[in-house]
């Protein structure tokens, strides 16, 4: 069975080591907690734990997924660095940016400021920025899925890099 072959090899190796398992659990917990605060806060343009009461079930699920994925990516990169294996950092960074920015783009003044700069805000054109913001507001789960896929691709390539040199 070749499904998730590299991932299984790396996870097996990683979880055999108690130190890496501990690191993975700690990092995943910390990042899950950060995401639980970050995702409901960002639409308000601030990071404040008081907004956690407005978290949606989708945001709870993806906070846990993102927390685990980031914890895993950091642990894997530490492991790879120890083995002197080069890994790409672009994937996890892109995943973090997409997963978090989509909430900020919905309701903060980022989109209006950008569009005003390009002259797209006039009383005649009723209005670009609210439609774009509404798009992000309504479709944020799809961006979370995209973010997860990027995380998973980064995980796959990191696992492939490590497992090729670690086999045996």
């Amino acid at each position: 069975m070749y499904l998730l072959k590299y991932e299984r090899i790396v996870m097996h190796t990683l979880l055999k080591n108690r130190c890496y398992t501990f690191l993975l659990v700690i990092l995943s917990t910390i990042f899950t907690a950060i995401y639980l605060i970050l995702l409901p806060s960002l639409p308000n343009g601030t990071i404040n734990p008081m907004f956690i009461e407005f978290i949606t079930p989708i945001q709870i699920i993806f906070s846990v997924i993102f927390g685990i994925m980031i914890g895993l990516m950091i642990t894997l990169n530490i492991y790879a660095a120890k083995l002197k294996i080069h890994t790409s950092k672009g994937g996890p960074i892109a995943g973090v940016l997409i997963g978090t920015l989509v909430n900020a783009l919905c309701c903060t003044p980022i989109i209006p400021s950008i569009l005003v700069f390009f002259g797209a805000s006039t009383p005649v054109l009723f209005a670009y920025s609210p439609h774009i913001q509404a798009f992000f507001e309504q479709n944020y789960p799809y961006f979370y899925i995209l973010s997860f896929l990027i995380f998973f691709a980064a995980f796959h390539y990191t696992a492939k890099s490590i497992s090729c040199c670690k086999r045996g």
Binding site: P40, P43, N44, G45, T46, M50, F51, E53, F54, C106, C107, T108, P109, P112, S113, I114, L115, V116, F117, F118, G119, S121, T122, P123, V124, F126, A127, S129, P130, H131, Q133, A134, E137
Partner: protein, 238 residues
């Protein structure tokens, strides 16, 4: 800076490595060449990183300068359209332009009729999550009562046509997110605004923007970064 082989794109760390690679792989087919004919410079990862950062930072600086009014490429166009529609610019320190507000109970009032008390004029879109959350927090955490104790009026106004996106009516917004606290309070007014009022007070189409207006009708403060984020300064202001 690393170099690449011109013939097979293989990356090499040094000229000597490249020369060895050329002798090994391509000499029989290409003959004798000098090192500059063999190598092709490639952009180092550091240069690439600097280019990417520059590409991100330059637009950000331009956008920031534009949003704080230092740089404006398109200001004249906006100004001319505003003059056609008879829209007034709203500025801190000046008299708040009078606008009609249609309240949820069906009556029509004007902003000028509220003079004599400090007014927090809060323009919102009812579909925007941050506006909904702000309304809940203002009601639940006693901020509305603090405004009342200072003798201020909070006038929550739905931007014209919810800025083109369908949201719940402002009356539903008030009851759903403000709860029982906001029912039948004469110091909490909810209403809708006209097109001209919307573009006078929110020309950049922010989803929420508030103005603090003193008892003489002068605007003392405004922000588009969320009423709940700035509520403490608003409470001090009124």
């Amino acid at each position: 800076m690393s170099t690449k082989c011109k013939f097979c794109n293989k990356k090499m760390e040094s000229d000597s490595g490249l020369l060895m690679h050329f002798n090994d792989k391509h000499r029989s087919e290409k003959g004798n060449l000098n090192i500059n004919e063999i190598k092709r410079s490639s952009i180092s990862s550091r240069t690439l990183l600097i280019i990417i950062i520059a590409c991100c930072i330059v637009p950000l600086i331009l956008i920031t300068l534009s949003s704080i009014g230092i740089l404006s490429f398109f200001g004249s166009q906006t100004a001319s359209v505003q003059s056609i529609y008879g829209i007034t610019n709203v500025k801190v320190g000046e008299l708040a332009p009078n606008i009609p507000i249609k309240l949820t109970n069906g009556t029509n009032i004007t902003l000028d009729s509220l003079r004599g008390r400090p007014v927090v004029l809060w323009f919102i879109t009812t579909w925007c999550p941050s506006c909904q959350e702000s309304e809940s927090i203002l009601a639940d955490n006693g901020y509305l009562k603090q405004l009342y104790s200072k003798g201020a009026l909070l006038v929550t106004v739905e931007l014209y046509n919810d800025l083109g996106n369908n949201g719940p009516p402002i009356s539903n917004f008030a009851s759903q997110y403000g709860g029982n606290l906001v029912q039948n309070k004469n110091w909490l007014l909810y209403g809708t605004s006209s097109l001209n009022a919307t573009y006078s007070y929110d020309p950049k189409e922010y989803l929420e923007i508030y103005y603090v207006i003193n008892s003489n009708g002068i605007i003392t403060n405004t922000s588009y970064t969320g009423l709940v984020n700035n509520i403490n300064s608003v409470l001090q202001e009124v």
